[in-house]
Symmetry: C2
Subunit: 410 residues, 2 copies
């Protein structure tokens, strides 16, 4: 098949934001949920609204080491004229604090019944069974109220919130031990290309790397990838591979997404379903195809490693997040001064790999020399990339830029 | 035991940086390594210097779809006066390209022997067994050289590099399928406190949360935590719990780290080994103890949840990274304008929890109303914190600040 379109390349290239919107519009969140214990819930996304079943703390408690008292008993106490109270039973023995009683409490102890304040240990002196109090306390002084941290029925988290370590502590503190979370969206990862082998390449053969990188990224982004064997550039083989993974929430392929003779993925998607976008105005990596087959979104990434990664970040990440009910936060960035100009065409979003350097205490972003889409080392050995917006034609030397760390980890 | 020191609180508070340095100086990297397959190596830290055993690509290859030729044969070719070449065997059949031969190649195909350039398909027309060439190519044109991406023996990564998805692709591309990584450092996590229960608290009881939060953080930071049962405030029980975990690379306890009657951890560490630091000039959370027992570093975190987290980030994270041979990168930050002033004492490093808001397209950091160290919700529901340096006394309203996202995830 050698039609005009294939000879002349892409007629139109869809803008990145439009392409992403079309893809997400065609993909529904899977909405499957499961109960997850808190010890395994870090990074998981809530499928429920969580309110606190119990207040924290669950009772009034001493906020200081000292003596639980009735505040009224201490009125007028001073260093010159201490008030003398009677040492009564220890906290926890359930004896209420009566008039002129003082009960020893530790920070965090439940305030004994009858008491309404705590005198700090530093403000007292014990003499036999008597406690001299050198300063007055007012009602509630040095007492933490029940519900001071979290009130009963307080809203803690909305659905879609991705849990962090401190969230798990908070959830446990209100008496929960598990939460309802969205299942990680399943992702079928299909590397394609007749030249690809898993190891020991002969002449004309290349080691498969895109599938490994994309699977690892999908997993970082909260997906559950299945890294499939290489599929050769054969229409029937590709069709069968996609059909096998229609049970997945997302299918992603690498290679064969352009308009060459052996770029069969767009045709396969077109036969089985619908191609939503073919060719996007971004660089490196415009030959991406986005489609949907029997309600399963398919992202067909180009085979050049850098192009593959750029498109995975632009389309696969928001798709996995969307299907899994997760938010898609911006990446962390470092502000830096551009050491050399970056060229780009207006209308095309350009991802320029940079290394970060420090010069006189200032961060400097140095664009990597290789700008090709095939040079994996240029992205793996870089510190991040600078995004040149569609609306701009390049960025001048000296420009303040935000270097995006799309692979940051804790 | 009620000595003067306990009555009067901490006599001195060590500066954060000094405290951290003393801790790391006393802790040696464990240096245990293991071989890890690339599919499981994301986030792992290299224990070896990695050089490329093979170049990438492994052979000269076509950079375009077209015809592999001897460049000299095309000299003088033009649209008006095409050069005519003879269609020869397909790429891969090992027939060398002779004078006036043209062999069909695809992007990425090995360049057949004898050829030294590729004519783009768009610049040719096939007429029967003949290929008309409309433009001359020079030697090497449209050819990707062997080693263009990575040269054989090129240095890829130094020991201590933490692997990211694109790194895994690069390592695979040079023919590696596993790497030598440091084992995750083992961390014994011991929550302490006689008031703590795992669920269903009665009067005076509190649900254990610090151990869960700290275990989850240790795991995020590359450690392998063991979340132990609650240990009560008893000298012998605490001593036995620490002795049991001396086989770990790091021990971390929560609670009982201050100078009260029931704060036994510093004494236990002192009896078994050495207390390096007790009391640090940070807020919230000065009552932290750092020590070492039989070469195992021990971080004794305060029991107030926020104080516990702040100290875990300041001391446990760098310790886990150091012991595990990992770098300890700064957290991602968001630049924002401070909506209200933050108060702090000079000489004390202060961690002020903030929520981020957008106002007229500008990020605004709003300090949370609750500043106490016991209010877990104030950290779990915040977006990050602003660090007021030891050298400053508060930060004024309107100040530009960097909000630290100490729980950011991909």
């Amino acid at each position: 098949m050698h039609d005009d379109r294939k000879r002349s390349g892409f007629k139109t290239r869809t803008r990145v934001d439009d392409a992403r919107e079309r893809l997400l519009d065609a993909a529904a969140p899977h909405e499957r949920t499961e109960r997850v214990g808190l010890t395994r819930a870090d990074g998981r996304t809530l499928a429920e609204r969580v309110t606190a079943p119990n207040p924290v703390p669950g009772y009034d408690r001493a906020a200081m080491d000292g003596w639980a008292v009735r505040a009224a008993d201490t009125f007028g106490a001073s260093g010159r004229s201490p008030t003398v109270l009677r040492m009564a039973g220890a906290a926890g023995d359930d004896a209420p604090v009566g008039p002129s009683d003082a009960v020893r409490v530790h920070t965090g102890s439940a305030l004994p019944e009858g008491a309404d304040a705590v005198v700090m240990i530093e403000q007292t002196e014990r003499v036999g069974d008597e406690i001299e109090v050198f300063d007055a306390v007012s009602e509630g002084e040095n007492v933490g109220d029940a519900g001071e941290d979290v009130e009963a029925d307080q809203l803690l988290f909305e659905p879609g919130h991705t849990l962090r370590p401190s969230d798990l502590g908070l959830l446990k503190s209100v008496g929960l031990d598990r939460v309802r979370a969205f299942e990680p969206p399943t992702v079928g990862v299909l590397p394609t290309g007749e030249e690809l082998v898993q190891s020991d390449p002969g002449p004309g053969e290349v080691i498969e790397t895109n599938g490994l990188t994309v699977s690892t990224l999908a997993s970082r982004w909260g997906g559950a990838p299945t890294y499939r064997d290489v599929v050769t550039d054969d229409f029937d083989a590709l069709r069968a591979a996609i059909q096998r993974d229609l049970t997945k929430d997302v299918i992603v392929t690498t290679g064969g997404s352009s308009v060459g003779e052996r770029d069969l993925l767009p045709e396969v998607i077109d036969e089985l379903g619908e191609v939503l976008v073919h060719g996007v105005a971004l660089k490196p990596g415009h030959p991406v195809a986005l489609g949907v087959v029997e309600e399963t979104p398919v992202v067909s990434l180009p085979g050049y490693p850098v192009a593959c990664i750029v498109n995975a970040v632009q389309f696969l990440r928001p798709l996995v997040k969307h299907v899994g009910g997760m938010a898609c936060p911006p990446f962390p960035t470092t502000e830096a001064r551009l050491a050399r100009k970056i060229s780009s065409e207006p209308g095309t979003r350009t991802f320029a790999r940079v290394e970060l350097d420090e010069e006189n205490g200032e961060q400097v972003a140095v664009p990597t020399r290789t700008s090709g889409s095939g040079i994996l080392s240029s992205v793996a050995l870089a510190d991040g990339w600078v995004v040149v917006p569609d609306s701009q034609e390049g960025l001048p030397e000296g420009q303040r830029v935000a270097v995006e760390h799309w692979e940051w980890s804790a």
